[in-house]
Symmetry: C2
Subunit: 113 residues, 2 copies
DNA sequence: ATGGAATATAACTGTAAAGGGATATTATAA
DNA sequence: TTATAATATCCCTTTACAGTTATATTCCAT
């Protein structure tokens, strides 16, 4: 219809919407960490940590920096910028629209009849 | 049941991280709609739409306003405010930390040895 | 009260993904 | 070379959930 603001790509949210992965993301706030560190601090098995990191990586939420036989995972900022933009535009929309819901619904009802 | 998950509550993201539910949320940007309207516009079966709306409702993303035998679903702003706060604080953190990753990793390595 | 419209819910199926364990890969060190 | 550490990948089981169909509920109109 009118100015349809491009909907958020859901895959990033899918990646974030799992407790262990969210915990990883929160952990990486303070800086890059290796797989082993992440697994230790979150009490995950190493394969489990690697798996979750792969999901995060596939969705561009983290990137890898190999260093000898370790791999430092670090957050990427871009997806968070996209998310911030989306949710911000959302807020503006809602404030504008729903100040008086009752009137709005009444208006809708009349239009339908 | 790892009781150590800080930060964002993941359940809201779980609710958003499904294509049909995201589509519903985008649809409700322009104002409240009934179940039937939502099902029609997104080409979902009625029970399917109701189910997704229940998930959104259980997570506080939408609320219901009964009107005769119709039910208008509308967005709630609070969860979006929470999400915006979270992602914003995130951004600040990352800008501050990761300006020069190479130095940071080097520093980490030295600390470990 | 009867019928129909709008919505919710229950029962079921199929599939995707989380979680665990074993193994493969890569890199370093002795 | 062999050994060991760090990580990825493969296999397997189980669970969660999207989606469908059928039925129940609620409300309005006649």
């Amino acid at each position: 219809m009118s100015g349809k603001i491009p909907g958020m790509d859901v895959s990033m949210l899918v990646a974030l919407a799992e407790p262990n992965r969210m915990a990883i993301v929160e952990l990486l706030r303070d800086g890059p960490l290796t797989v082993g560190e992440i697994a230790n601090r979150l009490e995950l098995s190493q394969p489990h940590a690697s798996k979750h990191l792969k999901v995060l990586s596939n969705n561009g939420i983290v990137e890898v920096k190999p260093e000898a036989n370790r791999r430092y995972y670090k957050l990427r900022s871009e997806p968070f910028q996209v998310l911030e933009y989306w949710v911000t535009s959302f807020q503006k929309n809602m404030e504008r629209k729903f100040d008086n819901l009752d009137d709005y619904v009444q208006e809708l009802k009349n239009k339908k009849q």
